[in-house]
Amino acid sequence: MNTEQQIWDYLEEVKDPEIPVLSVLDLGIVRNIQVDADGALVTITPTYTGCPATHIIEEDIRSKLKEKGVINFNIKTVISPAWTTDWITEEGRRKLKDYGIAPPESNTPDKSLLSNKPKVVHCPRCNSLNTEMKSFFGSTPCKSLYVCNDCKEPFDYFKCL
């Protein structure tokens, strides 16, 4: 029988298919792990409603646990409470920045998004604040496209959700 801590450790090895520097734990996708006499129950939540990686992540968790010899387990998907970028860990934010993706700046979007200007975002390469949003929608559902006016590099910004 595996302990809860062992399963958490195994899942640290499961990476996001689109952002391979982040584990599913860094992203806050794994919500809970419960082990009892019937086996383990891993509760996960999707990031974006339409994220095509959701299904792959579930399959990756499944094969990782099998590889580690965990036999009795189930994966349950819940959508409430809804995933938020606030759940990305500090470690996850640091890895994102090192990877060249600007991490989400503080909190989740609220109704102010409808009227306010886009967030001021630090360039992940040169740290400049002289950056500009090019498009709310980027290469994956979770990112916006920005450009740095100082180092002239385009970059992805992990948008707040």
């Binding site: 409603t49 959508i79 998004l113 929608f137 980027g138 948008k159 959700l161």
Partner: protein, 254 residues
């Protein structure tokens, strides 16, 4: 939940699911055809969100129905008359102005509806709304920006977006079409009164059109019937493309 309420909920979920799926499919038709790369990506991102929403509604509908129908069965194995989507979303993409007007009018509606569904008495509907509202907020910001940019842009862009509004306006009332059975759901506080949604929608549309220097068309003939299965000729063509593969090769697997 009694059988009448279940049937009412099933019909409502199909309408929500079908509307999201059909619009998601329409937006996916822009893939590789967007006027600029960023927009190509934005439209297909939004398409993914909508198809994701459709999946939630279909899977819940299959459970409520009691027949255990899967998302795929509901999406692929019903024909035009059994589809309940709103007429607005099945209208062909046209030019970019037309797509954006369709998107804006729908998204403003979806935003206020999902916002109201956050206080639904039904836990599943509430949790879908909780997830959807975050994404729809981005969608609304995106389409409002474009309406203002095109409307208050050049003479040419203003003309195109005004024409699009005039041409699509006849499908606006159909967005707010209710079925007699909706009363049961309103009574059980599962869904909000449609009149309240309409009022909020009108406020949003009015303020964006004003800022965009565009005119709201005068009320004229309104075509209605999407939720009752009465569609324009375009839906059949969408379904022919969307459903071809699983119907021709029912055992096909990825």
């Amino acid at each position: 939940m009694n059988d009448n309420l279940k049937k009412a909920l099933f019909d409502y979920l199909l309408w929500m699911g079908d509307t999201a799926l059909v619009l998601g499919h329409r937006l996916s038709e822009w893939c590789g055809h967007g006027p600029i790369l960023e927009e190509d990506i934005a439209l297909t991102n939004i398409a993914l969100d909508l198809i994701g929403q459709a999946r939630y509604y279909y899977s819940y509908a299959g459970e409520v129905d009691g027949t255990g129908k899967s998302e795929d069965q509901l999406a692929y194995m019903r024909d035009v008359l059994a589809y309940h989507n709103s007429l607005l979303v099945e209208q062909p993409n046209g030019d970019f102005a037309f797509t954006m007007v369709r998107q804006f009018l729908f998204t403003a509606f979806s935003y206020h509806l999902q916002d109201a569904l956050l206080s639904s008495s039904d836990e599943r509907i509430r949790s879908v709304a909780e997830k959807a509202i975050k994404e729809v907020t981005y969608h609304l910001r995106h389409s409002s920006d474009w309406i203002i940019r095109l409307g208050d842009g050049t003479d040419e862009s203003h003309k195109k977006v005004q024409e699009a509004i005039d041409n699509i306006w006849m499908f606006v009332d159909d967005l707010f079409l209710t079925l007699p059975s909706d009363k049961l759901l309103v009574g059980a506080k599962v869904i909000p009164e449609m009149a309240a949604i309409r009022q909020k929608w009108e406020g949003t549309v009015k303020s964006v059109l004003e800022e965009a220097t565009l005119k709201q068309p005068m009320a004229s003939y309104m075509m209605k019937g999407g939720r009752e299965g009465k569609h324009t000729e375009h839906l059949g063509h969408i379904l022919a493309e969307l459903q071809f593969l699983p119907r021709a090769y029912p055992d096909a697997k990825w």
